[in-house]
Assembly symmetry: C2
Homo-oligomer: 423 residues x 2
């Protein structure tokens, strides 16, 4: 037991651990999770465990609802979907007791994870951490249902897909935990997806800002809201594998000065869930962006990249990207509500695109990064359709069929397969 | 819609309806339940619907827990098992909305079905009916999870198998409902199980006391606790089929004077879940019954029939029956803790027995009922091992292999296949 690595803690710590659906996908795996939690508990740590529904369960439950209605009431969807996590907390508490560990399960409502009333995508407002702290002080392992909360009127709410990460981070923040450990089916954050680039390397640390970009750019390791939440409360966040006994995973850091040993580019993120829409021949006058995007926003469709080309002949072309699932709806809005209203010539779109991004703190202060990226893609004959930059990332939209190729050549061009060296 | 029979109500009523696991076993069946509820709602009734878990779901959930522990923590079992009903309430509310009916689901905790803390077999203490009444007054159909409650500390509790019947009756009592309708897979209470006696007849009414005996004696139609609860608060209880559009089911009545048209014997109940234990050669002195049954009770094993034969040679034989599941445990207690302690000669037992009972209000005032029962069995060569009587029932224990035969011949002997006549 003592041999188990408890990264960085030399004395008793308060640790929040989160296990995703795959990690608790069977009773056998739940038993494994219980074993890991028990070792931390035996080492003297106070442990709060946040769990997801067993893998497949949330989809099964929502599938039942969809058999009854194409557009099920969100409040009732949450009542149904929240049961997935409730089953897991009970099972994990039983598995822990079987190992002789005092353990107690809590639903989101029972520890008053208070949210707003935005059913199926609620946001956490506050957590009453007193109940949890009292249990921890008694030596109990506290098992909390992820993904769920309760609104001020006592309605059950859920936080949206991947919300268990957010639950864990919020609990860590509320409790002032020493570390929030996200156990998943990968053993950390990689320079890019190893399924596409086998040479991809695990990062031992990544800055909060980079992680935020990686998450927002399609890395599935952490849900972006949980990273935002962690950053707001400076929660020490670590990504680890639930299937390996050893390994320190990837620690998300908040200090830039720890990055001396880091390469300029930390990783390459990508997303296939993209679609592009372009309004052609838009009269070039103030307020056009609002007139185009207002109706899109009213339909609750999120917009990612926005590009407006410099106008010629008093008109301009206006392009933006949305989630691929929203493509048809966005196209209908542009064609039916927007086009004539603003006097545009044409509306076109493409839902076979992908976004590839290079991410790295301080990259803009290093000359040549952007040009190296563009040259690398040009050499492979990959046409860049849109470009967007920020302090720590450069994203390009390309034809979806070039996605894997682009990720591989960029990974090599920025030497991400090499161990990092001082810059 | 107007053609749908709303038994006995000529104006708007407040009805509690309960649908069991088979009635909500698929989304298709949930849709059917929604249709029935909607018709009552359309007729102007206020409707509270109590539902069980989809059939098989509770077993599946408890099976998961048992994969992790042979003796799972009861508190956590309740956390897990209660999700079954929670899924159904959400699905039914969605199905009702799909029909254009305002509906809202509530867990046991959300309508404060307050229970004691006896996890897996909790008893209802009180119900805060205000939330429900406010929803009903708005015209909302209120869908409540059966089988579950919450204790004073906010822990989730369950009421034990069949507890949804009790939930429905308790809600009907708390709300002062005009009727509590239990929809099940049979269309009422029968003179005996039609699978054994095809000529078995549906009773249009049955007295509360008879129903209580029928339930306690093995009739699976209603859970005994729900009948007790109904009697305590004089809840008008009706058993109906959820698979038939018509039919008035069986009404449980509280007035004896409605029984003029009723046969003396209402029905024949039976149970296979029985086992008999006998302590032979017990010294015949005061306190022996307590010394034998005390340790059984301490082990939380319920005892049904108890018979002590008149002693000869200063010893006596002491027999009792328990649920068949408790047979091995009870036998071990008698052999290891009781036998030597009280100086008994031997402990024997038989777990291949069955109990058959005839039930009828006022039967004891009619001479010849008991003798007709015993003669009927004797004529078939069926040996009676134990006899127990009450105001409204006579029960006998027989060899299990004669069970079907005994039920059939008694059904015929008491002319239960004939329509009732005035006595």
């Amino acid at each position: 037991m003592a041999a188990f690595p408890r990264p960085e803690f030399t004395q008793m710590a308060l640790i929040v651990q989160k296990y995703g659906g795959t990690s608790v996908g069977t009773t056998e795996r739940i038993r494994n999770v219980a074993g890991r939690v028990a070792r931390f508990h035996a080492a003297g740590d106070q442990v709060v465990v946040v769990v997801s529904a067993m893998s497949g369960e949330t989809n099964r439950l929502i599938g039942l609802a969809r058999e009854l209605s194409a557009d099920p009431e969100p409040r009732e969807l949450d009542v149904i979907a929240s049961t997935g996590e409730q089953v897991t907390i009970g099972l994990l508490a039983i598995a822990l007791k079987e190992l002789g560990c005092p353990a107690r399960s809590f639903t989101g409502a029972q520890v008053r994870i208070l949210t707003d009333t935005a059913f199926t995508k609620a946001r956490i407002v506050s957590i009453d951490e007193e109940t949890i702290r009292a249990e921890l002080d008694k030596g109990t392992i506290v098992v909390v249902a992820g993904f769920q909360g309760v609104d001020a009127e006592g309605n059950i709410t859920t936080l949206g897909r991947g919300g268990s990460d957010t639950s864990a981070v919020a609990l860590a923040a509320a409790l002032g935990a020493d570390e929030c450990q996200i156990y998943t089916d990968v053993d950390g954050v990689y320079t890019t997806d190893p399924r596409i680039v086998p040479e991809a390397r695990r990062l031992s640390t990544i800055t909060f800002e980079e992680m935020l970009e990686m998450a927002s750019l399609g890395s599935k390791v952490l849900q972006i809201r949980s990273v935002e939440f962690a950053g707001k409360y400076k929660v020490k966040l670590r990504v680890l594998s639930s299937f390996e006994e050893r390994g320190e995973g990837t620690l998300i850091t908040y200090e830039e000065d720890t990055r001396m040993e880091q390469a300029i580019i930390s990783g390459i993120a990508f997303s296939r869930d993209e679609a592009k829409l372009t309004v052609i021949g838009v009269p070039d006058r103030p307020g056009i962006a609002y007139q185009i995007l207002g109706p899109i926003s009213d339909a609750n469709i999120g917009v990612d990249m926005i590009i407006q080309n410099i106008g010629h002949d008093a008109t301009t072309d206006f392009s933006f990207t949305v989630n691929r699932n929203d493509y048809a709806a966005a196209m209908a809005i542009l064609r039916e509500q927007v086009k004539e209203h603003i006097g545009a010539r044409e509306v076109t779109g493409d839902n076979r695109i992908a976004k590839v991004s290079i991410v790295g703190v301080g990259m803009l202060s290093h000359v040549g990064i952007a040009s190296r990226m563009f040259r690398t893609l040009a050499e492979e004959g990959i046409n860049i359709q849109m470009i967007s930059t920020s302090e720590i990332k450069i994203s390009v939209v390309i034809d979806e069929k070039y996605l894997e190729l682009a990720v591989r050549v960029l990974h090599r061009a920025f030497e991400l397969d090499q161990p990092p060296q001082a810059v």
